[in-house]
């Protein structure tokens, strides 16, 4: 029997680079270099293997692809615009800024792209019951939406803390017919919601499909979610060629688990002239409570994969903190961990305060209310744009809209500026 071995996996990572591609991963065992894999309870293994086989068959089926593309066009509203943000460009005072408008998708974020793909797979596998975890509620809403569309039962696990700060999305999920189960364990955020979703799955393994919302979890999820989200980068490539006649000079996206970032980045990984930047949540600061797994963590095993994790010296998982519920997770997708170690993608971080400032700036200057998650990407773009020439084409992933965040922002501004007015 073949077994994975760290040294052969590292050799494989080198092989992928020596073939001049960063896009060949994962290997047949689900590893990106030493990252990824399938670290799940035995009860789930047969089902994980079934998901892998079913996804491989679906990928090879033109009818599956056609239905996916049709739903993206007619239901999600793709392609969404690549918008030249003139006033942000002017305010930043350097690079020419483009916003990829995932906020204009049906349900208001990039999450729906992946949900369309996975619900088609779940239906193909004959599953009738869908479970999902959610942090900000965007993935929960997108999952509840596709379950309504396909007539499937839907249970969403959401941390009690996140339910508190994302009330509008909780109610949207309920309106869509989903059951929202509050999770009280740990810090009651995204990590804990994922634990309870896994507990549900192991209990209802015979009829339930786990619709994971990001490029994490056991193989094949990181690769599958990436594939479904790659529509973002594929569209950006076509749009910028049409609008500017050439590829972008840089890409910037926020990262919690990292699905909007991976969707934007992956089609450009082998374009070595494109600078690629992932922005993690630095929370109160990297020396305080934060959610920046690459900047402040080290490799470990959680939720089915080996990746960078926030953890203590005993291997206990640390609580993450971000003002943005969607980034409030102590891990990151394994392919990002690999791209970090290979150096192909730069990973940086932005604090809560910087993200809130960027949120206000984008709202006031462009009339676009960005998600707090996406505001991290805008904030970092604002830090570097001035040092770049006017002909530098920078694409920022505007991964979602910020309506869900208005209460959080009101509280933050109440603290910072308004002296308790709100």
């Amino acid at each position: 029997m073949l077994y994975w071995h760290p040294f052969t996996a590292q050799a494989h990572g080198k092989l992928m680079q020596s073939l001049n591609t960063y896009r060949a991963g994962p290997d047949e065992r689900g590893h990106f270099g030493i990252f990824g894999g399938r670290y799940v309870a035995e009860t789930l293994m047969p089902l994980i293997l079934d998901v892998e086989r079913s996804y491989a068959a679906a990928k090879a089926d033109p009818a599956f692809e056609a239905e996916f593309r049709q739903l993206l066009a007619q239901y999600v509203g793709r392609p969404n615009p690549l918008y030249h943000a003139r006033r942000l460009t002017e305010a930043f005072g350097g690079a020419k800024i483009f916003l990829k408008r995932e906020d204009l998708n049906h349900t208001g974020a990039h999450k729906i792209n992946n949900c369309i793909g996975q619900i088609l797979l779940a239906r193909r596998m004959g599953k009738k019951r869908i479970i999902a975890e959610t942090g900000a509620g965007q993935h929960g809403v997108a999952t509840a939406t596709v379950c309504a569309l396909f007539g499937m039962d839907c249970v969403i696990y959401m941390g009690a803390t996140d339910i508190e700060r994302q009330q509008p999305n909780v109610y949207r999920m309920k309106l869509l017919g989903a059951e929202v189960r509050p999770v009280q364990s740990g810090a009651a955020t995204l990590k804990d919601a994922m634990n309870d979703a896994l507990r549900d799955w192991v209990t209802n393994v015979h009829d339930t499909y786990y619709l994971i919302g990001t490029v994490a979890g056991p193989h094949p999820y990181p690769a599958m979610v990436r594939d479904f989200q790659s529509v973002i980068g594929d569209e950006v490539r076509a749009q910028i060629l049409a609008q500017e006649g050439r590829l972008p000079d840089s890409l910037v996206a926020c990262i919690g688990g990292g699905s909007n970032a991976m969707g934007l980045f992956h089609p450009f990984l082998d374009e070595t002239g494109v600078r690629i930047i992932g922005v993690e949540a630095a929370g109160h600061g990297l020396d305080k409570a934060h959610a920046a797994s690459l900047s402040g963590g080290r490799p470990g095993v959680l939720h089915g994969n080996r990746t960078y994790l926030l953890q203590d010296n005993d291997g206990q998982i640390a609580e993450a903190h971000s003002i943005s519920a969607g980034l409030d997770y102590p891990g990151i997708g394994p392919e990002h961990a690999w791209l970090h170690e290979t150096g192909r993608v730069e990973y940086v971080s932005v604090t809560d305060t910087e993200a809130v400032e960027a949120f206000q700036r984008c709202t006031r200057l462009e009339g676009i209310i960005p998600a707090l998650e996406s505001s991290h990407a805008i904030a970092y773009a604002g830090k570097i744009a001035a040092s770049l020439p006017a002909d530098h084409l920078m694409v920022i992933s505007l991964s979602g809209r910020g309506d869900k965040d208005v209460a959080t922002i009101a509280r933050a501004l109440g603290d910072i500026h308004l002296g308790g007015l709100v």
Binding site: W4, M45, P46, R199, R306, L309, D314
Partner: protein
């Protein structure tokens, strides 16, 4: 011969199954847990599973989740777990101890170094919930090198096609998880357990212990008639939880173990 092998051989000669008891290391605090651990053999535990507390026990129900939280809040760690085993070994050199838990703390320690340190402390085997055969090779050779057993989990979803691959790594005994679910919730019927055990037996000659959902002496006795061991965890952990802050924190779980042991011993095979 290993302690696990010796123990199952002796029990076979006695004509009975093993009572395997689970507690979480450091629950409710390290000193109290040591008192419970040290008295488990006298109360009738034939093998001991000692849970390595972890912040994110994805395969555990509420009882064992809370036990891990209590232990970690009381300062438990993987190092403290090994120290507890070493202390236990000062008075008991025959009762096998198997550590059960999740991979990340071991990954952090370093698999090779942990195997050496665990063996030195007097550990006999490991059960790692989130290390299926697809990933087990990063740990198993290090365990083999120091004579530790890798106890594999088989489940109702492990079919005949998959069983040989799962059992390829197995030594010590096979742990059959009798339900698809988390610890301390549902229970399987005796007929379902009987069918599963006979299916696993076609693929291995190792002893088979059955766990998940076994709470009462009658249930333990039922399993003891079908397999080489019955594993009880959540019920014992709950007996600790229900008596925290009283002297019964030590005596209540031990009293339950005595009842369970009586059930298992009455069920001659």
């Amino acid at each position: 011969m290993s302690r696990i092998e010796t123990r199952f051989q002796d029990l076979k000669a006695e004509g009975r199954a093993a009572l395997v008891t689970f507690i979480t290391a450091g629950d409710p605090d390290i000193a109290t847990c040591q008192s419970i651990l040290d008295r488990l053999p006298a109360a009738g535990a034939d093998l001991i599973e000692l849970g390595m507390p972890f912040t994110d026990p994805m395969a555990d129900g509420p009882s064992i989740q809370l036990a891990a939280q209590r232990a970690l809040a009381a300062g438990a760690s993987l190092a403290a777990t090994l120290e507890m085993v070493a202390a236990f070994r000062k008075t008991d050199n025959s009762t096998p101890i198997v550590l059960m838990g999740y991979y990340n703390p071991i990954h952090t320690w370093g698999a090779e170094r942990f195997a050496v340190d665990a063996a030195r402390a007097g550990v006999d085997g490991l059960v790692i919930v989130d290390l299926p055969p697809e990933e087990a090779d990063e740990l198993v050779p290090h365990l083999r090198a120091v004579g530790l057993d890798f106890i594999v989990l088989t489940t109702p979803t492990t079919d005949d096609v998959r069983l040989p691959a799962v059992l390829a790594n197995a030594s010590g005994f096979v742990y059959y998880v009798s339900i698809a679910g988390v610890t301390g919730t549902a229970s399987a019927s005796e007929s379902a357990i009987e069918e599963a055990v006979s299916r696993i037996r076609r693929h291995t000659s190792l002893p088979i212990c059955v766990g998940f959902g076994i709470r009462t002496p009658a249930q333990a006795a039922g399993v003891a008639r079908l397999a080489e061991g019955a594993v009880v965890g959540s019920a014992i952990v709950q007996a600790i939880a229900d008596t925290i802050g009283t002297p019964a924190t030590v005596t209540a779980p031990l009293a339950l173990v005595e009842e369970l042991a009586a059930g298992v011993r009455a069920a001659r095979r």
